[in-house]
Symmetry: C2
DNA sequence: GTTGCATTTAACCGATCGCCTAAATCGATT
DNA sequence: AATCGATTTAGGCGATCGGTTAAATGCAAC
């Protein structure tokens, strides 16, 4: 009664997978429920039966990612001996997460730009942002004010990290190689680590 | 004969202005030609009469921005005594440009993410990217290889610059103030300048 | 085997989409 | 005033959209 039978869960997962693919590559507005149904090999009406509406299907796709992200952050948050190592490790693991879920960053970016789900995204990012700012400020008091204040740093670091993923389709044309392939990812991680270390060195004088 | 009469040019501009607004805020797929016609106070069929299709209207909106951007870059490119000052000035003027045309950055971002106009955007950004890489590499030979190579730096700087604009709707919720208002913009510019100087100091040893 | 419930299906709904057509209107030229 | 091409208009085209309906099917309990 309370536990769903297996075929139902399978169907929902297949729908979520197809929705993930198309929402991530085409965007919400450009993706039709018929396209999702066709790709997942499922009747179109099942989407509304299982998820209610296209909007609710989208939030279900997002929620699945939030769950993965939360788990990733939780397992990687405390790793590292000092604050510096913890921050570097956090950036590294976030890059890995985006690499494994690169459609997620594109989806998030688009929705931030789009306006429809801004409140929800803000609501999710606000505590993470405040936590990050508090950690940075307590570790480096200089970031409480001035040109390197924590809020600005967080936006910059986030922008740097996300850039190579959300711009992947264009970067492939600019770089002449797949930015999401392992060698390019390793070079990107090395660069981001160097940039973070540069900032930290400056903050440590 | 070759010169269009004034009313035609006015109509086209009104259509372009309305298209700009909705493409910038809602995105291409979520904007209907009827909405554009309604806002610009123009008959729906005129859009296709003057621009052929919704797609071509969109590229016309983009081209108008490219013209402004090209003019801005051209007037600001040579300013500054040395390479260091020129790069700092270029970042500053690009931030100003995005501030004055913040719908443009959102449109570009979305299309980079979207996939439909990726080839066109790549085609436009490729020469700028190659030029930027050549300038950075010749100014700082260390950027020819290693973790601070020019390609990575350009992506990072671009990501930092664009972040505060494309994330503006969310940042407003995070910061508690409008990220596009003059005081926030000045603080952002000061931060970006500090970050750029940090990198340059490192490259100059 | 029959009941009862969750799941799946085909067919369809009104609304809206981008786009087109034919006729009306405008405006400069003669 | 008449002409003619450029511009604008109302109306409608087929296609596709998200969503709904009622009937068919699968499946476990009795």
């Amino acid at each position: 009664m309370s536990s769903p039978n297996r075929s139902s869960a399978d169907t929902k997962d297949q729908i979520l997978d197809a929705a993930d693919e198309f929402f991530g590559t085409l965007g919400f507005a450009a993706t039709s429920t018929r396209l999702i149904a066709e790709r997942s090999g499922v009747n179109k009406a099942l989407i509304h039966y299982h998820f209610g509406s296209k909007q609710q299907l989208f939030t279900n796709v997002l929620d699945r990612y939030y769950a993965r992200l939360e788990e990733t952050v939780r397992t990687h948050l405390g790793q590292g001996d000092n604050a510096r190592e913890r921050l570097l490790h956090l950036i590294d693991s976030y890059v890995d997460f985006l690499a494994e879920n690169h459609l997620f960053s594109r989806m998030i970016q688009r929705e931030i730009l789009g306006g429809q789900h801004v409140e929800r995204i803000t609501q999710i990012m606000l505590p993470m942002f405040q936590l990050g700012r508090a950690v940075v400020q307590s570790t480096y008091p200089e970031t409480k004010t001035g040109p390197l204040e924590a809020s600005q740093l967080l936006v910059s670091i986030y922008g740097m990290v996300v850039a190579s993923f959300s711009y992947a389709p264009v970067l492939e044309g600019l770089w002449g190689e797949d930015p999401l392939a392992p060698p390019a990812l390793e070079r990107r991680k090395a660069h981001l680590r160097a940039m973070a270390e540069l900032v930290m060195q400056r903050l440590e004088h």
